[in-house]
């Protein structure tokens, strides 16, 4: 089953073959799910990806990239997801692409080279305890004092903050009442005085973090774009990265592991098992097709908010359906520690992180169907 529904041009498929060859050295790494506990190995992998020029594969020539289309980025990270080796790092995607579009020359020169080389890493600092899905309501303050901002507040559910160099963060520089129009985007050094990172252990055995910012000084040149203008930047950044955020091959792999496990425990002839697996097989095709709609919108430069929301929604829900199948099927072997029950715990996060399913449904309802003035 390990064939992508998407077949690219001859050159693109050649590129896929290169990626698969590259990955063969890293098989078994499982940095896709365990970026935290496998950090040294994952970091080495990213460096190697950087050496291939693939960290910056989609960046423009002028920015030091290969200038390839989004299709290659999709192939790259989809194959990485299938092999479970790594996720696309924030730095090479959202951070770099925002810097390329909106950064100053100095900012580009400072950050793009180490990102491209796979040497500097970023963690996403958007969510706060009082503003998870409602980013416009966030309250971490940044006040300008001469040549630097003083940032105070708290970010939470922050992935990989324990290992990253920088926090790519949204802060309030305007009034609370201005909601989204009072926010600025900055790069905050996670090793600066006043930053404390507290781990929040999660039920999948990894960790999220609480990042407390106590009067952290951030140089004014670390602000990206104009003050209070972050909202548009954040949105634009999502638009150019949405095709690699939820690689469908991860689900293909999930289902393959489930099928292997069901065969190992000799459940393959059970009619209930067969019905369930067939339905999940259809689900994997569906999510792949939705991911391709997203890719198409990115490639053609079309607005793709609805496609992206549908893709995220279906991807997240299918990951849970696959993971929960052994439990629905009443197979108590699934309770014992191992890859099958791991997916159960891990996938709980999928409908929450990166925008909850409720938010996604609201986007589809509002923008796709014109419904619901309220969230």
């Amino acid at each position: 089953m390990s064939v992508s529904l998407f077949v690219g041009s001859a050159e693109e498929e050649e590129f896929r073959a290169d990626v698969i060859r590259f990955i063969s050295e890293y098989r078994g790494l499982n940095g896709f799910h365990f970026q935290g506990s496998k950090w040294p190995e994952v970091k080495a992998l990213y460096r190697a990806i950087g050496q291939c020029g693939w960290m910056s594969i989609g960046w423009s020539d002028a920015a030091g990239g290969l200038g390839r289309s989004a299709v290659r980025e999709f192939i790259l990270w989809d194959e990485m997801a299938y092999a479970r080796v790594a996720r696309p790092p924030l730095g090479a995607g959202i951070v770099a692409k925002t810097l390329i579009a909106h950064g100053t020359e100095a900012q580009k020169q400072k950050w793009l080279p180490p990102i491209r080389a796979g040497e500097k890493f970023f963690s996403l600092g958007y969510s706060e305890p009082g503003a998870g899905s409602d980013l416009a309501g966030l309250s971490t303050r940044a006040d300008l004092h001469g040549d630097h901002y003083v940032v105070t507040g708290e970010k939470c559910w922050t992935s990989y903050a324990q290992d990253s160099d920088y926090l790519w963060t949204l802060v309030r520089t305007g009034a609370v009442e201005d909601r989204g129009r009072g926010l600025s985007l900055m790069i905050l050094d996670l090793h600066a005085p006043g930053v404390s990172v507290r781990p929040l252990p999660t039920i999948d055995g990894e960790q999220l973090n609480q990042v407390v910012l106590d009067a952290v000084e951030v140089p004014v040149e670390h602000r990206i774009g104009p003050e209070n203008a972050a909202w548009r930047l954040v949105k634009d950044a999502l638009d150019v990265e949405r095709h690699v955020q939820f690689p469908p091959a991860r689900l293909r792999r999930d289902l393959e592991e489930l099928v292997a496990w069901l065969r190992k425990h000799e459940h393959e002839l059970d009619p209930v098992v067969q019905r369930t697996v067939a339905a999940l097989g259809v689900g994997v095709f569906e999510v792949e097709a939705l991911a391709l709609l997203v890719l198409e919108s990115v490639v053609k430069g079309r607005p793709g908010d609805v496609e992206a929301a549908q893709n995220k929604l279906a991807h997240a829900e299918l990951s849970q359906k696959i993971a929960r199948a052994p439990f629905e099927l009443g197979l108590s072997e699934a309770l014992i520690y191992g890859p099958i029950e791991f997916l159960y715990r891990q996938s709980t996060w999928e409908t929450i992180g990166g925008g909850t399913s409720e938010i996604m449904r609201s986007v589809v309802a509002r923008q796709g169907l014109g419904l619901g003035g309220r969230s």
Binding site: D270, P271, V272, R275
Partner: protein, 382 residues
């Protein structure tokens, strides 16, 4: 706490079953398929209710003075359960017994009680319920059918819709607006209107649910004497809510759902369809949902038996009833296979009925809101 039946209750149930076995015609399953509004069933039900009344089983839980026997709440529950388990042979008269009667007892004038309650307890009258309007479905407080006071009567103008059974009904329990529309629920009045009053026009709506299921009713300058008003002018909202409370807890529809499940299995078997493990599991699950609705319904009866005021537990029970209806409907479709497409087959009937399950009651969402707000104490949506 205990979950047993007393000797009396058991024997009452047995008598009912014997009675039903004797009274229901051989083609009853076929006849009841098209719903209580169909002409065939309406005629049968009329006669059947008369027989029930003769045995004192039509309104056993009513006070003696109104033609009842002061029977305990549980006896009434057993009666309803057995009726629904047998396809509700009382037809539309379940409404009379369940909520019209109690509402009249509470709010009726002496004359209204004397006249209407006697007829209901004899089982020889059909009522319909004039609540919904084209622009006021679940949101009853926005209804706009007007009643203007003209001397000793009201002149009623407007339209009701989704009215069940009214082709055969003699009276309508009608909600009208007697004050400005902005007063919402404070300007509503109840009238007890004879359906043969000039100016009333009934049109059947062609629905998928069976014959005579829904109607539109048009009121053009219909004169209703003030003496036919139930309670005071503009006090209708409280009366309607009182009635709805009874309606909402009154229906052991799980018994019908469970019966449908049995019919489905029998049907599948007779069509030579194999019921494999996958379906067996679903059958058990659907039956469990019927049982869940039953036990939650019992909880509500228990409160009534203890003379406690109704609580959000009745909304919990209603949600469970709808869930069971839907589970059984889905299963009927699935188990039927392509044979469910045959016109008039069990699967076909269930498809028609299951699609709007939860809508017919119109209030699934309101029930969920009430459970959230009253049972869990969550804040109202701003």
């Amino acid at each position: 706490m205990e979950f047993g039946w007393s000797e009396n209750e058991r024997s009452y149930r047995n008598q009912l079953r014997e009675f039903l076995a004797a009274e229901l015609p051989g083609n009853w399953n076929e006849m009841s398929k098209d719903g209580p509004g169909s002409d065939a069933q309406a005629a049968f039900s009329q006669a059947f209710c008369g027989k029930l009344a003769a045995r004192g089983w039509l309104t056993p839980h009513w006070p003696k003075e109104y033609g009842g026997h002061d029977a305990p709440a549980w006896q009434h529950a057993i009666l309803s359960e057995e009726m629904w388990a047998h396809g509700e042979p009382r037809g539309p008269q379940y409404m009379n017994v369940n909520w019209l009667g109690p509402t009249l007892m509470r709010y009726g004038s002496d004359e209204q009680k004397r006249f209407h309650l006697a007829r209901i307890s004899r089982g020889d009258v059909l009522w319909c319920q004039g609540f919904s309007e084209p622009n006021a479905g679940s949101d009853l407080a926005s209804l706009s059918t007007r009643a203007e006071r003209v001397g000793d009567s009201y002149a009623v103008n407007g339209q009701k819709v989704w009215t069940s059974y009214c082709k055969n009904a003699e009276f309508c329990f009608l909600l009208v607006r007697t004050d400005k529309i902005e007063t919402r629920h404070k300007g509503i009045t109840v009238l007890l209107v004879p359906m043969n009053t000039p100016g009333i026009e009934v049109r059947e709506i062609d629905t998928v649910l069976g014959d005579r299921y829904f109607h539109e009713v048009f009121f053009t300058d219909v004169r209703v004497p003030v003496s036919a008003r139930l309670g005071a002018e503009n006090d209708g909202w409280g009366i309607a809510m009182y009635a709805l409370q009874y309606e909402r807890i009154g229906l052991p529809r799980y018994a019908r759902s469970a019966r449908t499940l049995e019919l489905i299995v029998a049907d599948a078997k007779s069509n030579g369809r194999v019921i494999d493990g996958a379906f067996k599991e679903k059958l058990v699950a659907a039956r469990a949902m019927c049982e869940a609705a039953r036990i939650l319904y019992y909880r509500v009866i228990d409160q009534r038996a203890h003379n406690q005021p109704p609580t959000a537990d009745s909304n919990v029970a209603r949600l469970a009833l709808t869930a069971a209806d839907r589970a059984v409907g889905d299963l009927a479709l699935e188990l039927g296979g392509p044979a469910a497409l045959l016109y008039g087959s069990l699967g076909d009937g269930n498809f028609r009925a299951a699609m709007p399950a939860g809508v017919a009651t119109g209030t699934s969402e309101i029930n969920a809101n009430l459970v959230a707000q009253r049972w869990l104490g969550l804040p109202r949506e701003a």
